[in-house]
């Protein structure tokens, strides 16, 4: 692996694409913000060009690049560049009462599906076979759909208990169709067959989307003579190496909020706080716990499809720096002037009242020409009060317990955030707040996750906990972490109700520094990580 020198972090948001360059001591050397383009690759190229042209930057120093983007979500919403997927569910004779993709929007299912089948097989919660695996049925199905399928998704009942039938099915696919991308549910989701199957199908469909963005980025870098090691940010705020991201694109589908929360943690050297990220159109409020975003307890919907992969637990409100205030009614949003803020807001000589004008009217920001808003002073101040109340409400909703907490304010629109908020002990405004998302991508660690059901055998509970820890660690190393730095950062045991057999669901996250970091840098990272790990383990639920 290449020795790490400087890193380029990129975050593609809804309004802007941000890029930062950081040196090995984690100092921000340069940053750039450009408007997104409809095809997203244009915005990435422009952001890379802008940040590399910053005076004093030697592009040759860039050894690593980290990208966070929501483009995969947009591809699903716009039904664009999706592969046709052959869907194999292993679970017969169970599960026929709800066929694969039954609740998908029809038009999306028509674009994505090359055919679906349910074959005999699958696992019971206690590890027995639900029924013997029928490989011949898989082969027959592939003979039917092999001509149109561009990828294969395989999901077995209780794959989180044992993946063995999924692995057998993958062998059949390889034998019958040769080299075709195969997505296996046990590598993607957790307990909940339909949600895990949906996520696996989406993953298979998104292969080209991930390839497109990776090659656009590499082309932009190559134009500057660069060939850095490339990583993608995941939904949980950690990184995967490029080859991993190309196999599991669905795991990068919502990395933006996680990047902001991780960036906020880094910029303030904090491991536990509330975080608010104010953009041009919307505001996300999340929670930082042990240095990572708190994840939602149930799955998220993407384009109307239920999935069960975990995303940061956020409360999102339609308030941002560009939110439009009606001069007649005083109503705020949900429309936003977005990236046209610099020309359309009142303080910049435009004709549209925005929350940025409110921030100027209340003295929170000094921007543009305050004289231009004098006529609307009262209306703008009133809008600020109402926006503050909505923000305070969102902050209260995201908390899990009573008591005041600190709040880190990041994002280009965070000038809107007042200093005094009910339930908030202090508002922390770090330097480089406007590039926290791209910084979050640049400083991210590499993680491995385990979330499955373990049966407590002769070794007792401790043996299965150790097994889960080792497995998460192996995953982290496989994703590109330096083996010497990998630590368990989160461990959770969930007892299963209504079952007499001793089984527990264990979730473990292990994370480590990016492979190839320089020694001095490694030591600093290690110190920070072990602090996080200690806090995490002492708070892990028994």
């Amino acid at each position: 692996m290449q020795q790490l020198d400087c890193r380029l972090g990129i975050d593609v948001g809804g309004t802007n694409t941000d890029a930062v360059i950081m040196d090995p001591a984690d100092r921000v050397l340069a940053k750039a913000k450009v408007a997104c383009t409809p095809d997203i690759t244009g915005g990435i190229t422009a952001a890379i060009d802008a940040v590399l042209r910053t005076p004093g930057i030697d592009p040759g120093q860039i050894t690593h690049v980290m990208l966070g983007t929501t483009h995969a979500t947009n591809a699903v919403l716009e039904r664009r560049r999706l592969r046709r997927v052959a869907v194999i569910r292993i679970g017969g004779p169970a599960t026929y009462s709800i066929r694969p993709m039954f609740e998908w929007p029809r038009d999306l299912a028509n674009v994505v599906s090359a055919g679906e089948t349910i074959v005999d097989g699958g696992i019971e919660f206690d590890g027995r076979d639900l029924s013997p695996f029928d490989g011949d049925a898989v082969a027959r199905f592939l003979a039917e759909v092999g001509g149109t399928a561009e990828a294969v998704a395989i999901a077995s009942v209780f794959a989180p208990v044992s993946p063995r039938h999924e692995l057998l099915a993958a062998e059949v696919v390889k034998r019958e169709l040769g080299e075709i991308p195969v997505s296996l549910s046990h590598e993607i989701g957790s307990v909940g067959l339909l949600e895990r199957e949906n996520a696996t199908i989406l993953n298979a469909a998104l292969i080209d989307v991930a390839r497109d963005v990776a090659s656009a980025m590499q082309a932009a870098l190559a134009a500057h003579g660069l060939q850095p090691a490339t990583f993608f940010a995941q939904n949980d705020g950690t990184l995967m190496a490029l080859d991993h991201a190309l196999r599991y694109p669905v795991l990068t589908i919502g990395s933006g909020p996680a990047n902001s929360i991780r960036g906020a943690a880094f910029l303030t050297d904090t491991t536990d706080s509330l975080v608010v990220d104010v953009g041009g159109t919307s505001t996300d409020v999340g929670v930082l716990i042990n240095g990572f975003p708190r994840e939602s307890s149930h799955g998220v919907e993407i384009g109307g499809i239920r999935t069960n992969f975990r995303m940061p637990d956020l409360v999102t409100i339609a308030l941002g720096g560009g939110s439009v205030i009606s001069l007649e009614t005083g109503r705020i949003g949900p429309q936003s002037v977005g990236y046209r803020l610099q020309t359309e807001a009142l303080v910049f000589g435009g004709a549209v009242a925005t929350l940025t004008d409110s921030a100027v009217a209340t003295g929170r920001a000094e921007l543009g020409d305050p004289g231009l808003i004098r006529d609307h002073q009262e209306l703008l101040a009133d809008a600020a009060r109402r926006a503050d109340a909505r923000l305070a409400d969102a902050i209260d909703r995201v908390k899990t317990a009573k008591g005041d907490r600190s709040l880190i304010a990041v994002g280009g629109g965070s000038i809107l955030v007042p200093d005094e908020i009910p339930g908030v002990s202090e508002v922390i405004r770090p330097e480089h707040f406007d590039a926290a998302n791209a910084i979050g991508a640049a400083i991210a660690s590499v993680s491995g996750n385990v979330d499955r059901i373990f049966h407590i055998g002769a070794g007792g509970r401790q043996a299965v906990l150790d097994e889960a820890r080792d497995e998460a660690r192996e995953h982290a190393v496989a994703a590109g972490a330096d083996p010497g730095t990998v630590q368990t950062v989160e461990i959770e045991e969930i007892p299963l109700a209504y079952l007499t057999s001793p089984a527990i669901r264990i979730r473990v996250k292990a994370a480590g520094a990016l492979g190839g970091l320089q020694e001095q840098h490694l030591q600093a990272r290690l110190a920070r990580q072990s602090r996080v790990a200690r806090q995490s383990l002492s708070s892990a639920s028994p």
Partner: protein, 359 residues
Amino acid sequence: MKRLLDTASLRALARGCAILGAGGGGDPYLGLLQALQATEGFGPAPLVDLDELPDDSLIMPCGGIGAPTVSIEKIENGDEGARLREHLEYMTGNRVAALMSAEIGGSNGLLPISWAARMGLPVVDADGMGRAFPEIPQVTMHLAGISPSPAIMTDERGNLVVFRAISGHWMERLERAAAVEFGGAACSTEYTLTVAQARGATVRNSVSLAIRIGESLTGAANPVAALISELGAYRLVAGKVSDVERRTTKGFVRGSVLVEGLGDDAGRLIRLELQNENLVALERGRVLASVPDLISVLDSETADAIVTERVRYGQRVTVIAFGCDPIWRSDAGLAVAGPRAFGYDFDYLPVEELAGAAA
């Protein structure tokens, strides 16, 4: 008049079943998808009143039994209901005229409808609880002295077991053990009864009530108000969840939830005690409502029910309570599902007297 359980009715029913679950009974989502797929393939099941069926015809109460974690992985085949019916007819020598949900609250309110649609049988507008409860004998058929035997249990593979137990309590023990062997979940029928028996031994009109509940929410400007007026429910408090304490012991979720009043209710603090379902609502030690009356925690904006496992700090909720079917208010009903049956040391008073007096 015969009513068909079409797609729109099923979606409304699912929302209603969640509210009648009183915090328990499981998410009706998978049950809804099964009913929708069966309806798409076989046409909608008719919903009939008990009075439309001959007195001596047989009703099969049925549903799923087992661990929620298993139910979300090992989804039913779809033929389980037909197998239960076939074997019940073989054993009794009578034709099953209609299916009935043993438990309207939660996911079991929908599963029998998917089976009925597949067999072309009607579903009766009644159930055995009018809500959700955790155990097999906590049904109105038990109160009416109807035997749980013969009970039949089957799985997706075609395994089938017949149970003859001396009591509802033994039926619970035996079926629970067999369900684990089947892989943690199975489908079953107990308390088979005739139409004549069912008239006094079931909660009547509960399916149409659940549909009306769901319909009252759809498109309402103020869903919570619409629901309260539809149910004649009492609004105990509107506020936010300020504390949640929950633990799993012996397969049951137990704990408590504090709701702090907001707006008109500012300064009030309501405590809910739960064991799978919401059991008791208290304010400063005074009981506002208790089992067997229903206590539901609703999302204040959408009026969708929040099941006990999903209640979290900070949620904006409205807690409502409404009367159970009168059959539960009898001495026999309170012995099975009154406050003392769940370990509380106070006598049951109807929600109309408790919350009604406070309002």
